[in-house]
Symmetry: C2
Subunit: 201 residues, 2 copies
């Protein structure tokens, strides 16, 4: 498939495994098909890894560290609380592949190896979101509720985009939809909530 590199590295195998998870979930990670896709044979694989289990663990490790760092980097720069949350939302809906990968791994979360990583990543995201909501002036308790609310909505939207894209508002209306989400999911403590304006339109 790709002959740019003379030899493969363990990370190449891990990335290929993550690609395979997007399509086939955990069962999609099969050594021989991966080898065919990489243009080599199993001999290469068993040089870099002890077995299939080691590949899966390495891939998950790679995924988790990448996911927890990206969340921070994209939003930590924005200082204004409302803008920061909006940035998180935009970034979250940005990469389609990452979204599919998350859903694929979450679906395999019955596997004990996967469960730990999915738990860790979602926990990291929720904590960061709750922190953002606290910066808005909410109590810790309310911030947690709103963070969970927003994250759930994000996860659900992700799933709809994958399983029933036609259900989401088409083209221009989709932007209205996103604005509705953002306005509703970022309360203005002390001010009048924005939903009223939306319904007046």
């Amino acid at each position: 498939m790709v002959q740019t590199k003379p030899t493969l590295s363990a990370d190449d195998w891990a990335d290929a495994a993550l690609d395979a998870m997007v399509d086939g979930g955990l069962d999609g990670v099969a050594v021989e098909p991966l080898a065919r896709k990489l243009g080599v044979t199993k001999g290469s694989f068993y040089w870099h890894f002890a077995n299939r289990d080691a590949l899966i663990r390495a891939s998950l490790e790679r995924w988790a560290s990448r996911e927890t760092e990206q969340i921070i980097e994209r939003a930590k720069g924005v200082r204004q609380p409302r803008k920061r949350i909006q940035t998180v939302f935009k970034a979250a809906n940005g990469s389609e592949r990452e979204g599919h990968l998350y859903l694929a791994l979450a679906a395999a979360s019955r596997d004990p190896r996967v469960a730990d990583f999915v738990h860790k990543v979602s926990q990291r995201r929720l904590d960061f979101l709750a922190e953002c909501y606290r910066a808005l002036g909410l109590t810790a308790r309310d911030a947690r509720k709103w963070a969970t609310f927003a994250y759930s909505t994000f996860l659900g939207t992700l799933q709809l985009r994958r399983d029933n894209p036609s259900a989401l508002p088409p083209g221009p209306v989709f932007n209205e939809y996103l604005r509705l989400l953002i306005e509703t999911l970022i309360p203005r403590p002390g001010e009048q909530p924005p939903a009223a304006a939306e319904q007046a339109a």
Copy 2:
């Protein structure tokens, strides 16, 4: 496993297949393991079904019809628009197994057989929800947006319950959380949205 019935029916196999999907997704539906769980052999299976594909299709058919009818039955009785939507929410979060099953099938929605059914079920639910929102006095356009919003939140909450239960508010706070969802996701056209009261608390 179960010796209550002298012989098995095709529906027994279909139900067992749905149970297997909850745990192992589509790949979890394997003829020989199912036979072992039912206390019979493959000979029984291939009497009732032509092959594994037929079993999968029959199971999906059974699931889809059940899902689309349950949604109607539980909520059609409630006439008041707000109460009706609340009923839908409560019912949706009711059966844990049905939620897991939906997520398992959605995860397998890359399979063309599954895709059609998942699409159909989610579409049916969204249409009904949009209808409920229209009864609130929203325009068709706004009703669709709010229905999508609410359904996404429902899906995401379902996923959190499965993959990271500890992330959801514990015990008593969870009820507050559900109230927040309901109050926020059911706008009051013309009146002041309820989020203000929530934040004042």
